[in-house]
Amino acid sequence: MHISRTPIRAGLLALIAALALVAGACGDDNGGTAADAGADGDVTVGFIFVGPKDDFGYNQAAYEGSEAVAEAFPDIEVLQAENVPETAEAEAGMQNMIDQGADLIFATSFGHLEFAANMAEQNPDVVFVHQGGLKDDLELDNLGTFFGTVYEPVYTAGIAAGAASETGKVGYVYAFPIPQTLANINAFTLGAQSVNPEIETITVATGGWCDPAQQAQAAQSLIDEGVDVLTQHQDCTKTIVEAAEQAGIYSVGYHADASSLAPEGWLTGSEWDWADLYVDIVQTVIDGDFVGSAYNGDFRVGLQTGDNPFVQSTFGPAVSEETQALIDEARQSFIDGGSPFSGPVSDQGGVVVWAEGEQPTYDEVETMDFFVEGVVGSTN
């Protein structure tokens, strides 16, 4: 999930992406044009990614989803563009795909939303779906957003962390205090507190989605503070898992299964599996059923409504059977309509946000702007 990269990185990526787009445009001349795509009924689907397709994280998962689409529909053409920045450059990238005949475009990063919305207004014949955004009051027949309920497996990972921690302190390395990250940190903390109410989550921001040097320092500062579980909301995740393993403490992954990097300390993690959802969206568009469908709005899928594309990673040896039973129990409660944020939930100041019996809507979760009680850190 991305709001922005550090300025230098964003600038560099913009330049590389521009070069890549030029190269892509030159290389795909035989890919068909908008005219012939419409004429013979060929379907072309485009995907733009903010990062590299092999970041062992968010972008890799989205890329693998696009590959699953190509596999499920051998007859359609799939266009992929990596390192598309969250700037007007994204519009150029999508225009390039439209010029190649794209009928449906997946804009897969948080910051692509406004550019996808602009393009949707200008190109009523092309369907745009955005991953992770909320389109608010934009009522267009060719635009929608979709996402999973990220915080569900993060909550259950928190259960594993709470059960494993002996010091009662767990560490969370993150990039920026954006709503999705705050929801993750809060869900993790509440999950851990469901096992041990005394759990404290100490947070450290690195100011970037992938800055391994800062990650290494951040991990060290948390270890110095006595945490015995480390987790993260970062795009590249390896440094922190390795740092935890070297320090002999537990780790919880994000975006990718890193259990092989931490054979001793790996607890569990959460990772994306977009294949089914992407394929279903493509099928809906091919069938001509997009307008008015769930995907033509702000589509959110969680355990309650279907298969959450954000799934639990494998468990490490330190997660006992009792803990796994607790996790299954929590999962079942979400399937039955519960939420990781089912009240009572209080903020850092002890003010009750959701009282007993209350729980937030998807919108409220995705605009979360506070830390729950037990989190150490600042949100602004």
Binding site: F56, A205, Q217, S221, T239
Partner: protein, 297 residues
């Protein structure tokens, strides 16, 4: 907490100290190399790949230095043989490094490396505070701490250093004495690139044990700024690198200790520090810069 910040300053500062030393050598010979960031990335990836393939982190570090030197050679050829603008060429070399490492690094993301670990020096590492900060680090950190005084001696006490500085101050004088400013500058730029590559190698195989695209995130550019802070002096370079790295370590420690400060503000603090230091020092430093810096000879 002081011990922890100092420890973090040294541990995280090595990947800056090497490129600052390298850039100092290049600029002392009269060449600004903004390709440092590219050389660091080339060094980081190459060291990682060779470290994984051969199982020897030392071979990896050596290869990383070679990769950094190779990119610097491109810069040297462009500005010294072809007379290209040093600033523009350096930036292009950095972009080249970013692009090439992104391309060749793809399959190495997520692959584990058996990197450099900390090696505690007997007895010395038992000294309170100083022991952990200076004598319980990875071998490349020790190497950087030995390299700084060695390079200082080379630059200011050896004949070769005199010629190198002449190339950066009065290339015509060096030429009149039968030397070749161009050759000296070639050697300086390539040696500087090798050191930047070594910094990248420390970043990927010792400090983070990770390869990911663009992982230096601007450290090469920070290194160029720190050269001015250090007044083109290899010994002061140690202070510059550790000051910046220490500022990062400090803000992360403050966060972990629950200081109610904006993470955005804390993140910006190390860069604000560099700008403040440059603002205070630059007028004085202008007289200390090599006279023929960035001038085509």
């Amino acid at each position: 907490m002081i011990e922890q910040v100092l420890y973090g300053a040294v541990r995280g500062g090595t990947s800056l100290l090497f490129p600052v030393l390298g850039e100092t050598i290049a600029e002392r010979a009269g060449v600004i190399n903004l390709g440092t960031e590219g050389s660091m990335l080339a060094g980081a990836l190459t060291a990682y790949i060779v470290g994984v393939q051969t199982g020897s982190v030392w071979l990896g570090a050596l290869a990383g230095a070679g990769a950094g030197a190779s990119l610097a050679l491109v810069h040297a050829f462009m500005v010294l043989t072809r007379g290209a603008n040093q600033i523009a060429t350096g930036l292009v070399v950095t972009f080249l490094g970013i692009g090439l490492t992104a391309l060749f690094g793809q399959e190495w993301v997520g692959v584990g490396v058996n990197g450099f670990g900390a090696v505690a020096i007997p007895v010395l590492s038992q000294i309170p505070v100083v022991g952990r900060v200076l004598f319980d680090q990875d071998p490349l950190t020790y190497l950087s701490l030995l390299a700084a005084p060695a390079i200082w001696w080379l630059l200011f006490r050896s004949r070769a250093g005199l010629r190198l500085r002449a190339a950066g101050e009065r290339p015509d004088v060096l030429l009149a004495h039968g030397g070749s400013p161009t050759l000296v500058r070639y050697v300086a730029v390539v040696a500087g690139g090798a050191l930047a590559g070594l910094g990248g190698a420390q970043l990927s195989t010792a400090f983070t044990r990770d390869w990911s695209e663009g992982m230096t995130v601007g450290r090469g550019f920070v290194a160029v700024a720190l050269v001015i802070f250090a007044a083109w002096n290899p010994l002061r370079a140690i202070g510059g690198a550790y000051l910046f790295s220490g500022a990062i370590a400090l803000q992360l420690q403050l966060q972990a200790r629950g200081w109610e400060l904006s993470p955005y503000l804390l993140q910006a603090a190390p860069y604000l520090l560099v700008i403040a230091v440059l603002a205070v020092l630059s007028r004085r430093r202008a007289h200390q810069a090599p006279e023929a810096l960035a001038k085509v000879f």
